[in-house]
């Protein structure tokens, strides 16, 4: 028999699995991408898809509206703060003079090879 609880469990399981896959893919990207700036983009998957989908799955499992609303707030604050921290480290790297690899050949400014 298909109950509302079953539908809810399946939906939150799907969200947990997709969100978990996002976190893992982000981690794989951080290892595989060639330089600091490209790695930041991989970390962005973990920040957005990973975290928010797992939170959405948790909201579906929340025992009360109060807990669900608190989880919405956790998601909201992540949404507001993660770009600030990402920009802070990107800007710090840029300010001290780390230059990104550019173009399809991944060359740095000043590289002759």
């Amino acid at each position: 028999m298909i109950t509302l609880d079953l539908v809810r469990d399946i939906a939150s399981w799907a969200l947990f699995l997709i969100g978990g896959a996002g976190v893992v893919i982000g981690a794989i990207g951080i290892v595989r991408f060639p330089d600091f700036y490209t790695r930041l983009h991989a970390a962005g998957i973990t920040d957005t898809a990973g975290a928010e989908l797992i939170l959405l799955g948790m909201i579906l499992q929340a025992p009360s509206w109060l807990v669900a609303a608190k989880l919405v707030f956790v998601g909201f604050f992540l949404f507001m703060t993660s770009p600030v921290s990402t920009h802070a480290i990107a800007h710090a790297a840029w300010t001290v003079g780390l230059r990104p690899m550019l173009g399809p050949d991944l060359k740095r400014e000043g590289d002759d090879q």
Partner: protein
């Protein structure tokens, strides 16, 4: 005055949400006192301006966030595909984006939206333009980023943020 009311309502809502007490007069009284103290301190620190309480963006910004979430979902798929591709076809690029926004709150919203979208990160803010690092040729889509900028600028219309 509008900003004071908006901040008071937001803090009251947050307090009620996080505490979960609705029927204990003593605790509600403490809550009210802490909200009033916070609003007073914010007022004294002159933080009740367009930057601290951007109430001018308020109703429209919720629709914008919804649109932004869809964009983030699409960009996530593109970056995830590169991360697990056998031969990632990366072609990082630096773009100079001119922001059409007028207020600081609008500029911050635009720059953060770019960073929040996977595949593009705002690296530097210079007077007149922003420096954006993009992961691939596809993601370095200046037209799409400028479209996002126009949407943020549209939020600012009316109230001066």
């Amino acid at each position: 005055m509008v900003r004071t009311i908006v901040l008071t309502l937001a803090l009251t809502g947050l307090w009620l949400l996080l505490s979960g007490y609705y029927d204990k007069p003593l605790l509600l009284g403490f809550g009210a006192a802490s909200v009033i103290l916070c609003v007073y301190l914010a007022h004294r620190a002159r933080m009740l301006d367009g930057e601290g309480v951007p109430s001018g963006l308020m109703p429209r910004v919720f629709f914008y966030w919804w649109w932004l979430m869809v964009e983030i979902g699409k960009a996530n798929l593109t970056v995830a595909r590169q991360a697990i591709a056998i031969e990632p076809a990366l072609s990082p690029k630096l773009l100079k984006i001119v922001s059409p926004t007028r207020s600081n709150a609008g500029l911050a919203t635009f720059a953060n939206s770019i960073t929040l979208t996977p595949g593009t990160v705002t690296v530097d803010l210079e007077p007149g333009y922003m420096l954006v690092h993009a992961l691939t040729e596809d993601l370095a889509d200046e037209a799409a980023i400028n479209d996002m900028g126009r949407r943020v600028a549209a939020l600012e219309k009316g109230g001066g943020a």
